[in-house]
Amino acid sequence: MPWNGHREITLQVNKADGNFSSAFCVLFRLNALRKFTGKKEYRTGEVPGENMTDPITWIANWLETILEGIGLPVGIMVLILTVLGVLIVVIFVLAIDIFLVWMERKVVARFQDRLGPNRVGPYGLIQPIADVIKLIIKEDTTPKGADVLIYNIAPVIALASVLIIWAVIPFTPTLVGAEVNIGVLFIVAFGGIGTLAIIMAGWSSNNKYALLGAFRTVAQVISYEIPMVIALLIPVIFAGTMSIQGIVNSQELWNIVIAPVAAAILLVSSIAEIGRTPFDLLEAESEIVAGFHIEYSGMKFGLFYAGELLHALTIGALFSTLFLGGWRGPFVEQIPVLGIFYLFGKAFLVYFLIMWIRYSLPRIRIDHMLNFNWKFLTPLALIALMVTAILDKLLTDFSNITYAVIMLVVNLVLIWAVIMVLRIYASGERKKVGELKPTANADAVLSTFGKDVSSAQETSGAST
């Protein structure tokens, strides 16, 4: 086995990708054990990916040995492998995306007590393919006075900004795209790019509804990024690193157990981030016909659509990575490839939750949306962050179990307090709504009713 030589090469590869990793995170490299920065130490000799427990790594090593066999320089080899990896993952994810279309439609149908697609193929499984074909053969219109370049780039960016995030999500203990030590920040960054795409689309289509949609997007996404970032910081505090793989490795106990508040905040703000109901103000059909992609048709619209669905799944994967232990699950240490299934299982769970919310809740008003963020979510997130940070420092020299228990208890207290505050606020609101409306001449009005004030107030009180 040429492992010794291989080691040196791979070390150089690391030096090289030390430079490249976060720049071309788009490039998805299949390098397994070198980038594995977990707590688990591999004894030399026993290398995962030798056997079929970790096929992808195995293939990667095999390819490397071959390429090096032909005598390619390291840089080129890395490039080839990288591009290869990127292609594989992108195709894989997009395939899932197509399946998502079918799933979404089925689930919404069930929620609305319909059957959903059931004509093309068994259970309508082929339906999305048909949709894609339809989208492709549709006429591709470009509105007059549109800014052609931007108009055409926007959908691509929209989809790419979602795909990029998959670069840092670890699939198995040994398989992660770009093991950047600032993965969390990375995710936030490319969320911003997504916003950019929407703005470009909205502005360039030269349509006031589209522009309105873009405005709303900016208002919403930028404001909801804040609680999201703060909530993301909490797992970072637990793990002590911003690298996603590190966060997953640190979760012997799932983070959601010790930080439910942060999890909830992350979920809500991500739903707002992807602009799904109840936060779908950026494409509110009843208000601004379809928002930013009103002018798009054919595959360009398809890209937006796919991007949105995929973004939801991405959020699911992200959430399960940060709070549900990512690839963790039974036997995953022995058979790393299982991690993929665990990860996607959890991701689909969260995705279903998001759909559930989407199809159960109505859309909220825009001012409510902003108030909810600035007056409730952000302060709550800040409080949670402070509490977690302080506790984390206080509990350093406690055993893990005490740590977890105290964290959980504090979180529950926080939740309770929040509920109390909300109840007080809500009762105040109800009073405000339900109080006796001022009338021109109360006595006259009441006398016409032929009641005295007290009974009138009683009735008004009863009416509320």
């Binding site: 490039l79 950047v180 030590n181 600032i182 920040l185 703005i199 470009m200 930028i222 911003m242």
Partner: protein
């Protein structure tokens, strides 16, 4: 010419081109988008300098916030592409010459610098720049005060922006 150098030259050239377009295009939105391109290029250059953290922060702050805010402001001030007014003010030639002079001066002075051609020292594997930076920013011996001042500055800017842009009605 190594792979690295080629990439660098491409990125740098792209960035400078984008920057030039920023200051020359008539269409404001295009200028903003070119600005984003330039900023992205700068981010990549940060990565070349093993400062991946700064690369990503650049994307978060500049592209994710600043550039989008600018686009937002452009849309609010309705200076959409249709304005055919002059893009430069009348003393733009002066500005051009001054910029050239500055560039030339800086380049000349730099070229006199003995270590002008130094290449990167090896970044030893065990030091983690991000960790170092974090420690330095919050350690009283280092930049704690500056850090806090920056946060106060941001708070002040936040409030100030709200107050200034407030619509009195």
């Amino acid at each position: 010419m190594s792979f690295e150098q080629v990439v660098f030259i491409l990125v740098a050239a792209g960035t400078l081109g984008a920057a030039l377009l920023v200051v020359t295009t008539r269409n404001l939105i295009h200028a903003a988008l070119w600005l984003i391109a330039a900023l992205f290029g700068v981010a990549i250059l940060f990565v070349f300098l093993n400062a991946g953290f700064f690369g990503v922060v650049q994307i978060v702050i500049y592209i994710g916030a600043i550039a989008i805010l600018m686009i937002f402001a452009i849309m609010l001030t309705r200076q959409i592409s249709s304005e055919k007014s002059a893009r430069f003010n009348k003393n733009w030639l002066w500005a051009f010459f001054i910029s050239i002079i500055f560039f030339a001066g800086i380049a000349y002075i730099l070229s006199l610098w003995p270590e002008f051609g130094t290449t990167k020292p090896i970044l030893s594997a065990e030091i983690d720049p991000v960790k170092q930076l974090g420690v330095a920013l919050v350690s009283p011996q280092a930049y704690l005060l500056a850090f806090e001042l920056a946060s106060v500055l941001l708070l002040a800017a936040l409030i100030g922006a709200v107050i200034i842009a407030w619509e009195q009605r």
